[in-house]
């Protein structure tokens, strides 16, 4: 029987990790993730999991230990945020290039400088092209559900790639919400026994990890990595189908909200999507056809499916909780623009940067944007294609 509890996002994900009971966890504390790994370390210390905890001296070491343990043949986890992820940077590529199915919750937080511990998406966006699969989560329930599904996706024999589960720092990680836990056996059966692939510790069948590959083969290797990315979406959908059977909760590559007959729409990630949905209902009550698309599988990005879902709209605003300095637009905007690019008839796209460093995203911000979109849909005229909202002049 599912259990209904009121817990924080960090607590919910730590519970999912306990239920999965991985072989190895290497972690280093960083706000706002610390509390998640602290809870998991408590489980390990109290014998609630058989996981071997490796308490390392930095995130670079944490990811390095994960790479070693995963190559050796274990089911491996860690978790991080912000600067911690930044310090893991070079090893993130080694994990994905070596096709190691490590699972890592990323509690999204702003990057320094200036120092800020609050939620934004700069960390996850900075790592979006490092070959990891990224699942983004609106609330504690989705973070818990994504964490469980992540193992099946990462460990799928056609995939074998590391997965990041993104959830908003503080807004979700430290807020208490009602969520449903599955029971331990259900999770255990869903995730299944870990299947090793080319484990280093299988001395009967010796293998090499991390060899030098020169120009004669490097490009073939990279193309193989790009090709495996094209298989991820199907696996994510199949795992979601199985997950619906045990939980009753439906997941796709992205969520659409009142989008089918919409004329204007928002594209927005994570917790701010929930606030936006309430405002969309108000606009609908006033007869304005507004809708929303919230990406879930952000890497690999399902360009075709997203393009199909958005192409009929008149005007769309992509809201980014991170900026891409020196690029013309925010990172999510650039992906959405690529998605609708092939279509002759397509919505007018605008981009707003919001909520950096934990700045609140309020209903009034969604209202402001939807009113602007309604005006654009009517007149076809755009004042500014990209601007910051909720910011002092």
């Amino acid at each position: 029987m599912p259990k209904i509890v009121a817990v924080t996002g960090n607590e919910a994900v730590a519970e999912a990790l306990r239920q999965v009971n991985p072989d190895v966890c290497a972690a280093y504390p960083i706000t706002p993730q610390t509390d998640m790994m602290q809870r998991f370390a408590t489980f390990a210390n109290n014998g609630k999991v058989k996981t071997e905890m490796i308490l390392v001296e930095s995130e670079h070491s944490a990811m390095s230990a994960c790479v070693g343990a995963a190559a050796a043949g274990g089911r491996v986890i860690t978790a991080t945020s912000s600067q911690g992820m930044a310090l893991m940077w070079e090893v993130l590529f080694i994990a994905s290039g070596s096709r190691l199915p490590i699972v890592m919750p990323l509690v999204n937080r702003a990057l320094s400088a200036p120092l800020n511990i609050h939620g934004d998406h700069s960390d996850g966006m900075g790592a979006r092209d490092c070959g990891w699969i990224q699942l983004w989560s609106e609330n504690a329930q989705e973070a818990y559900d994504n964490a469980i599904q992540a193992f099946r996706i990462a460990e799928h024999m056609d995939i074998r790639l590391p997965v990041m589960i993104c959830l908003d720092g503080f807004i979700i990680s430290h807020s208490i919400e009602r969520i449903e836990y599955l029971d331990d056996d259900t999770v255990k059966n869903f995730v299944g026994e870990y299947k090793q692939l080319n484990p280093l510790l299988d001395v009967e069948h010796p293998v090499s990890y991390g060899p030098l590959i020169l120009p004669d083969y490097y490009m073939e290797f990279r193309r193989a990595q790009a090709e495996v990315m094209t298989k991820v979406a199907d696996v994510v959908l199949n795992v979601a189908k199985d997950f619906e059977k045990i939980s009753g909760r439906k997941y796709g590559l992205f969520e659409t909200y009142r989008l089918d007959d919409a004329e204007i729409g928002l594209v927005i990630l994570n917790s701010a999507a929930g606030t936006s949905k309430d405002v969309i209902d108000e606009f609908r009550n006033r007869g304005i056809k507004a809708g929303l698309l919230k990406p879930r599988l952000y890497r690999p990005f399902p360009y075709e499916e997203v393009g199909e879902a958005l192409k009929h709209l008149k005007a769309v605003c992509v809201l980014d909780r991170a900026d891409a300095f020196g690029a013309s637009y925010g990172p999510l905007f650039m992906d959405i623009a690529s998605s609708i690019y092939p279509y002759k008839d397509k919505p007018i796209l605008i981009n707003k940067i919001y909520g950096l460093g934990g700045r609140d995203y309020l209903p009034e911000h969604a209202e402001l944007v939807l009113n602007e979109l309604a005006e654009i849909a009517k007149t076809g005229k755009v004042k500014t294609f990209k601007e910051y909202i909720g910011v002092r002049d």
Binding site: A6, D168, F170, I171, I172, H174, E177, R178, G274
Partner: protein
């Protein structure tokens, strides 16, 4: 109760305000309700003013931002009234609960509350000192909130305090807190 009950807590670091919001959310889970409890995270310092929030609803709670129009405002430390406008954003039928030994009528004047708004007071600090010897007004405040909101019974709240405090404190402290919740529930005054 409105479809969604929204509460804003005003307290100072170290008074257990965030714990109170958590305990209340947990107690409201019964009956299939959706709940949220979250503080506003600033520099965490003992004595510094802080806010915390609750939402309780029969519908899924999707809003992930501070409560802007609270139905109930709970002031855990009345000294905050001199520096902070706790009436900010309150609707005409808002309810104020203030930890104070003063008469609720006096505080109604101080707040300049509208005639349609309700003002309750309780001497939560005194109750806490008498019940468990520490000036931690959060337990009596949770009792008052149960009474004033009417959405959760005293028994459910007591059960929850027992569960939340049971992990951390001795039986003596738990019993004291249970008594404090009960007295908050009983001693609240309206003016």
């Amino acid at each position: 109760m409105a479809e969604t009950l929204e509460i804003r807590w005003h307290g100072r670091g170290g008074q257990g305000t965030v714990t109170a919001a958590k305990v209340f959310a947990d107690a409201c889970l019964s009956g299939g309700r959706y709940v949220q409890a979250f503080p506003e995270y600033g520099p965490e310092r003992s004595g510094a003013p802080l806010r915390a929030y609750n939402r309780v609803s029969s519908k899924e709670l999707r809003m992930h931002c501070p409560v802007l129009r609270p139905n109930i405002v709970a002031v855990v430390d009345a000294t905050l009234l001199d520096g902070i406008d706790v009436t900010e954003g309150t609707p005409d039928d808002a309810v104020f609960i203030i930890n104070s030994s003063r008469d609720p009528k006096e505080l109604r004047e101080k707040l300049k509350a509208k005639p349609t708004q309700k003002v309750f007071t309780v001497d939560a600090t005194k109750i806490a000192i008498e019940c468990f010897g520490r000036p931690m007004p959060n337990s009596p405040m949770v009792g008052v909130l149960a009474k004033v909101s009417g959405i959760v019974s005293l028994d459910v709240i007591l059960e929850d305090v027992k569960k939340s405090f049971g992990k951390k404190f001795s039986q003596k402290i738990i019993d004291g807190n249970l008594e404090a919740v009960k007295r908050g529930y009983e001693e609240v005054r309206e003016g």
